[in-house]
């Protein structure tokens, strides 16, 4: 019975250069046996290569290095995806906050002023505003009368505002 494992191709290619006398299957089986011996404390050696502490230390160090390498290598795609997604949302968010929302708020603010001016003018002419349709349900509108787009004098001001925005509660 065998089981499939994945190893980095470069490890296998290097080792095959050192042991061309063995097939890939023989080499991997021998390597597993050797590695298992070295990482199992007090196990006896089954070949003529004496087990010593230095080899055990090397095997343990390699196991740690391989585990770290595998984590880093296999997480590369996830890091790249996370970075791309972060950049994409940053740009999309920036576009919304720079090019979509401010013009809408400015237009809404301008129309509210115009509407209030016209209502004042109509009232002055004796027109009953409640008779003019459609009416506005002011409580259901977004208040934009005091809206002013955020502007920064310098990049340092912008950075300071961003840092302040993301500051965690109690983190001073």
């Amino acid at each position: 019975m065998t089981t499939a494992i994945e190893i980095l191709a470069t490890d296998l290619e290097n080792a095959r250069r050192a042991r061309p006398d063995l097939t890939e299957g023989e080499l991997v089986a021998l390597a597993l046996r050797r590695g298992t011996e070295l990482t199992r404390p007090h196990a006896g050696s089954e070949d003529d290569t004496a087990r010593d502490d230095l080899r055990v230390d090397l095997a343990e160090a390699i196991i740690e290095a391989v585990a770290l390498r595998r984590s880093i290598v296999t997480n590369r795609d996830r890091f790249s995806d996370a970075h791309d997604r972060e950049l994409q949302t940053y740009e999309e968010h920036l576009d919304l906050q720079r090019n979509v929302v401010p013009p809408l708020k400015r237009e809404a603010r301008r129309l509210r002023y115009e509407l209030k001016r016209l209502e004042a003018e109509a009232t002055a002419r004796g027109i009953d505003l409640s008779s003019v349709e459609p009416e506005i349900d002011w409580s259901n509108t977004i208040a934009v009368d005091d809206y002013t787009p955020t502007t920064f004098a310098s990049n340092a001001d912008r950075r300071a505002a961003v840092v302040e925005f993301f500051r965690r509660p109690g983190d001073r």
Partner: protein, 138 residues
């Protein structure tokens, strides 16, 4: 390429930044007596491969020295690899969290704020047109 070169190449390739991450699938015997170490089979296989390469690279009386040199090389790789792993994991966490937060805000803006503002603007315009007509008629 000498056996020492092969060993050096194997040790160099333990550094995460120099390998391309290409994996191959190999079959290993299902051992009735599995490894005791807290490590997965692929790490144990690589440890065994390095041991085999050292065996091929040096005569028995020189193996201990070569093993010591290899150990020093691997021990020098581990701290920066730990740091790189930490940096990468932290970076992933930060990027994913930032993307989630911004994604939520983007969805909220697109699905709620923008339609609300557009609805308000349409209502204001309709009311303004009606008021203008009434004012012009008086």
């Amino acid at each position: 390429m000498s056996m020492q070169d092969v060993l050096n190449q194997m040790l160099r390739d333990l550094r995460p930044e120099v390998v391309d991450g290409r994996l191959v699938s190999v079959r290993v015997p299902e051992d009735a007596d599995p490894p005791a170490a807290d490590a997965d089979l692929s790490s144990i296989v690589v440890a065994g491969l390095v041991d085999l390469v050292i065996e091929a690279a040096a005569a028995p009386d020189a193996r201990r020295e070569l093993t010591g040199r290899a150990l020093s090389a691997v021990e020098a790789i581990i701290p920066p690899a730990r740091y790189a792993f930490f940096e990468q994991a932290t970076g992933i966490e930060h990027h994913e969290r930032a993307a989630r937060m911004r994604g939520f805000e983007i969805r909220l803006t697109r699905s709620w704020l923008v339609p609300r503002l557009e609805g308000d603007i349409a209502a204001y315009r309709a009311r303004i047109d009606a008021l203008r007509r009434v004012v012009e008629q008086t």
